[in-house]
Structures are given as C-alpha cells and as structure tokens.
C-alpha cells in the first residue's frame, strides 16, 4: 500500500497542503488546506502510484459553533485495488471552496447537492444551481439553524409558487 508515498508526494510539491493525516475507523484520512486544495486533489487523481480515479461522494457537516463552521468530506476510491481515501476540508461560513468537477465529473452533482442543502458555494463549478429543492426555495435546509418546518408552514400551500415548471 502506498498511501505514504502519495501523501509524501503531495507534501514535496506543496509543503503546506496536508494539515493532518491518520486513520479514522480503519480508513486512511487526510485533512487538506483550502489554499492548495485543487492542486493536491489533482495529484491524488493523476499520480501513477495509486490513482484515485473515482469520487464516490461528497459529504458536508455543519458543526455550528465550531470555527470554521463546515467540514467537507470527499470519499475517493481507486479502481486499481479498491482502496479508499477520505479527504477532509474545513470551510468557514461564506467561504468559497474550489470545485473539483474538472477532475472528477461525479463532483458536479455532488457539489450541487452540497450547495443546495448547506449553502457552501463552489468556485469554478460549471452550473452551480439547486438540485433537490426548487429554484426559488429560500434557505439551505440541512443547516442546523434552518427551521424544520420552513417558511409559511401554517399557511395553505400553493403549487403556483414553485417556479421550476413553466
């Protein structure tokens, strides 16, 4: 297994990129810095040693009181030997995270989902718009400060207010 080599590889090129590395429930995990995030992710994808050519999912965690507020968790997999790598990234409120959709196409919809439900914006995304809720929805429902019942819950609902369908 050559996790060490790849992480070393990143550290050689970008000494500041890897903040933390270690095991999390038996899975290799690294925490990357926001400043050199895309460059480090490109190395993870492009290296010949153990290329992580599959982005399985992007998760986001709202930790409310902590600063920076959000955690983004990228789950990578290599189709060479099916080994996984968890990449963690910390992002503050209102901070723009660089998009990795130019590296993995699967990041396109995953980032839209994160944007829709948690309001984290991605710079360089080809088409960053809501994917699950409707176009004129207000707020980001999976944020901890979003009221569960949403806006106008006690009023009768009118389908005309949804602007997605002409």
């Amino acid at each position: 297994m050559s996790y060490k080599n790849i992480i070393q590889n990143i550290q050689n090129k970008f000494p500041e990129a890897v903040i933390k590395e270690g095991q999390n429930n038996g899975q290799q995990e690294i925490t990357l810095a926001l400043s050199e995030f895309v460059e480090a992710m490109r190395i993870l994808h492009d290296n010949s040693d153990l290329p992580f050519d599959l982005l399985l999912d992007i998760l986001s965690i709202d930790r409310t009181s902590r600063k920076p507020r959000f955690d983004l968790v990228y789950i990578l997999m290599s189709t060479q030997d099916f080994s996984r790598l968890i990449v963690r990234l910390e992002a503050g409120e209102g901070e723009e995270v660089p998009s990795v959709s130019s590296i993995w196409h699967s990041a396109d919809w995953a980032e839209r989902e994160v944007y829709d439900l948690m309001g984290i914006t991605f710079s360089g995304h080809p088409d960053l718009k809501r994917i699950l809720t409707w176009k004129n929805f207000e707020g980001h429902p999976l944020c901890k400060d979003f009221p569960l019942e949403g806006k106008d819950f006690d009023k009768p609902f009118d389908p005309e207010t949804i602007e997605d369908y002409p």
Partner: protein, 164 residues
C-alpha cells in the same frame, strides 16, 4: 342468470336517467396509474388476485389522465411534486374523484417538514380520506366503496357537465 331472464317478451323496465348514469359510473371507476411512495405498493397489491379490485369494476388503471375518473394520491406528496399532481388532476376529464390514501396524503403524516405538502386537500378537492400508514388493501377497497356510494347519491343537476 341476470336481469334479462325477467324481461322476456314485450316487457320493459322503467327507471330514471340519474339512477342509470350513477349506476354505470359507480361500477366503472377507472383509477389513474399514479403512485408516490409506499402506499403505491399497497395500491398495486389491491389490483392483484388476492384482493382483486376488479370486483368493483376498477381494475383498469389507465396510464393516461384523459381516460381516468379517479385519482388515488398514494403516498407522500412533496411540494416539488405537487405541481405534477395538480397538472394530472387538471388533465382528467369530468366527472372525477380523488382519494387521499394514507396518512401522508391526508395530513402530511410523520413528515412535518419544509418539503412536504401537509395534506393533498390543500391543492385538490378530496372525496375520501383513507387512514393508515400505509393502509391495508382492504382499507383502499373500503375507500373505493365509499366513492361508489357517493357517486350513487349524486344528483343530475349537480353533474359538472349538466346543461339544464
């Protein structure tokens, strides 16, 4: 066998138009093929041989709203989907009836949330509510029989297409 045995020769039968129309409508309520969540599976089970909805003349689930008389809203209606349900209802030809099947369609059920319509009666005129989560096929059949009862009591001048 049927009524024709008693009508031999020159015999004839007198009834009123209202009764004949209601009788024929109530025994051929064709539902729309439309399911939203787990209630849809109970609705499918109702059509199968064990419960056999065709005993009530409703076995013909039409894939087109133009050919159906009954909209069974079977499942959780999300706000994003409500536009489609309203559109399907509007496309159905008169006369038409609506069943709100299950707790979600009746009042939102356990989903007291920003994304779920709290009962389809906010967007459609509902004739029969069926409680349950999901309701058993017997409950859906009971709801269908309630619709049939309602159709049989309808008045000629209250038909939506009545021109008097």
């Amino acid at each position: 066998m049927g009524i024709e045995n008693h009508l031999q020769g020159d015999t004839f039968l007198v009834t009123n138009l209202e009764k004949v129309v209601n009788w024929s409508r109530s025994n051929s309520v064709w539902p729309c093929t439309f399911g939203l969540a787990c209630c849809a599976l109970e609705m499918i089970a109702t059509t199968l041989a064990d419960y056999d909805i065709s005993r009530f003349g409703s076995e013909v689930f039409r894939p087109s709203p133009r050919q159906s008389d009954l909209l069974i809203v079977a499942g959780t209606l999300t706000k994003k989907m409500s536009v489609m349900v309203k559109r399907i209802y509007d496309q159905m030809a008169d006369p038409k009836w609506v069943i709100a099947m299950g707790a979600c369609a009746s009042c939102g059920g356990v989903f007291q949330s920003y994304s779920v319509v709290q009962g389809v009666d906010q967007i459609l005129p509902v004739d029969v509510y069926i409680p349950g989560c999901p309701p058993r096929p017997e409950a859906l059949l009971a709801g269908l029989m309630k619709i049939q009862e309602k159709i049989r009591t309808e008045k000629l001048d209250k038909y939506p297409d009545f021109q008097g």
